[in-house]
Amino acid sequence: MPKFPKPKAPGLIGGLGVTFKTMLKGAVTVQYPHEREDPPTRARGVIALKEENCTVCMLCARQCPDWCIYIEGHKEKRPPRREGGRERTVSLLDRFDIDYALCMYCGICVEVCPFDALFWSPEYEYSESNIADLLHDKEKLGEWMETVPEPEPLEVGAEGKK
C-alpha cells in the first residue's frame, strides 16, 4: 500500500521553501515595451530584400512551400559596362510581396536565392491588427535590410563556409 513514503514531511515544507526562495530572487521577465530582448543573430524574424541584387529569377517564389511570395518584373536595356560593349538587358522588380500571414519562416527562399538578395533579420515588431496587412511589399522589405546583422563567427572546430 503506498502511504506517505517518508515519516518526515520534507515535501510540503520543502515546496514552501522553494517558492519563498524564488520570491526573494529577482524576476526573470523582461518588461517588454520598456526594455527589449535582443534576439540572437541568426533569429529568423523577418525576411529582408536587397532589391539591387534581385534578378527576378523567381527561384524563391517557386521554391516557397506556401506560395507566399509574389513577384512581378520587367526588362530594361542598360548601357554597356565597358566602352563599345553590348547593350545589357536587365530584369527589374516591379513587385516583390511576401505574405507573412502565410509564411512559415522556413527560410528556403533565403537559401535558394542565388544572388544574395534575401536575408534574415531578427526584427520581430511588425505585427498588424488586420491579417491582410501582413502582405509586405518590397519597400517595406527593403527597410528591413538595415536590421540585418553581420554573420557571426563560428564555433571552434567548424570549417569555414565555402
Partner: protein, 281 residues
C-alpha cells in the same frame, strides 16, 4: 519496494550529476578533446545498402520470416528487406492470422501503426492545378514498392517487440473495387484508431472492427483524402505564384519575352544553377 528502488536510483543520479556538473568548462581543453576525437571519428563508413539493390536478409530477419512461414504456410506471398527491416506481404485471408502470429510467435507485442498505401500515381493536373510546376513529379506508371502488390491499394502495418527489439512490416493487398481487410483490434487493441484513420483516409473497411467511424474528419465528410486521386484543394484554388511574370520590353513580344511560362521557368532554373555553386558543396 518501488520507493526503495527509486531512492536508490535517484541517489545514483545525484552523484553522477554532481560529477558531471564539475566537468571542466575550460574551452581550450574541450577544443583539444574535440580535435582528438575528430581523428577517431574518421571511422570506416557503415555497411550502407547501395540504393536500389536488394540486400539479403540477416539472421534475425531469417528467423522472423521462418516463424511467419511456419505458421502462415502459403499465406506469405513475398518478403524482402528494406534497410534492415523485414517486409512481408501476406495474403488478404491471412491478414488477421498474421497479427496473431506476430503477437504470439514473433513476440511482437507492440503495434506501431496500421496505414494504407495507394500505389496509383496522382493524376498530373498541370496548369489546372494552379499552374504549379514545382511539386515533385512522380513516375506516371504504377510501380509497387518493397514486397510488391497485386493492385492499387494496400494496407500495411508495423509491429515490434519490446523484449527482443525486433520488428516487422506486414503488407496485404486490398481489392480496389471493394477495399476491405480484416481487423486487428482483437489482437492489438491499439489497432482501433489506426484502422479508423485508414478507413476514412483510404476508404478501406476493416471487417470485425467494433465501430468504424470518422476519426479526424467531420462525419459528413465525403471522399478519402489520402487516395492519390483526391486533389489537394489548396494547390488548385490558388494560382501558382512561381509563374514567371516578367513584362517583356516593347518590341520584344515575338522574341524571348513571349516564351511559354514553363519553358522560361526552366531556363531560369538552369541559369540559377550555375550561380548556385555553394549550395552543392
Amino acid at each position: 519496494m518501488a520507493d526503495d528502488l527509486e531512492r536508490e536510483q535517484s541517489g545514483a543520479a545525484e552523484e553522477v550529476s554532481v560529477e558531471q556538473q564539475l566537468a571542466r568548462t575550460d574551452e581550450s581543453a574541450a577544443a583539444e578533446q574535440a580535435r582528438a576525437d575528430a581523428d577517431e571519428a574518421d571511422a570506416p563508413p557503415t555497411d550502407e545498402q547501395a540504393p536500389g539493390e536488394p540486400r539479403p536478409l540477416d539472421d534475425v530477419e531469417q528467423e522472423l520470416l521462418a516463424r511467419l512461414e511456419r505458421e502462415l504456410g502459403d499465406g506469405v506471398v513475398e518478403s524482402a528487406d528494406a534497410f534492415g527491416m523485414l517486409v512481408v506481404r501476406v495474403k488478404p485471408e491471412a491478414w488477421r492470422r498474421a497479427a496473431e502470429v506476430s503477437k504470439h510467435e514473433l513476440e511482437c507485442d507492440y503495434l506501431s501503426f496500421i496505414a494504407g498505401i495507394d500505389w496509383q500515381p496522382a493524376p498530373r493536373e498541370g496548369d489546372e492545378a494552379g499552374g504549379d510546376t514545382s511539386s515533385p513529379v512522380q513516375p506516371t506508371e504504377m510501380t509497387f514498392g518493397v514486397g510488391g502488390s497485386a493492385g492499387r491499394m494496400q494496407v500495411f502495418a508495423h509491429v515490434q517487440s519490446t523484449k527482443h527489439h525486433w520488428g516487422v512490416t506486414l503488407k496485404t493487398d486490398v481489392d480496389e473495387g471493394h477495399p476491405h481487410a480484416e481487423s486487428w483490434v482483437a489482437t492489438y487493441p491499439g489497432a482501433d484508431w489506426h484502422e479508423r484513420e485508414c478507413w476514412e483516409m483510404f476508404g478501406v473497411a476493416f471487417d470485425g472492427h467494433p465501430s468504424l467511424r470518422h476519426l479526424y474528419l467531420p462525419s459528413e465528410f465525403e471522399g478519402h483524402p489520402l487516395r492519390k486521386d483526391y486533389p489537394l484543394l489548396a494547390r488548385v484554388v490558388k494560382p501558382w505564384p512561381g509563374l514567371v511574370d516578367v513584362e517583356a520590353m516593347p518590341g520584344e513580344e515575338d522574341g524571348n519575352g513571349a516564351q511559354p511560362a514553363a519553358a522560361e521557368a526552366q531556363s531560369a532554373d538552369a541559369q540559377s544553377a550555375d550561380a548556385d555553386e555553394e549550395e552543392s558543396s
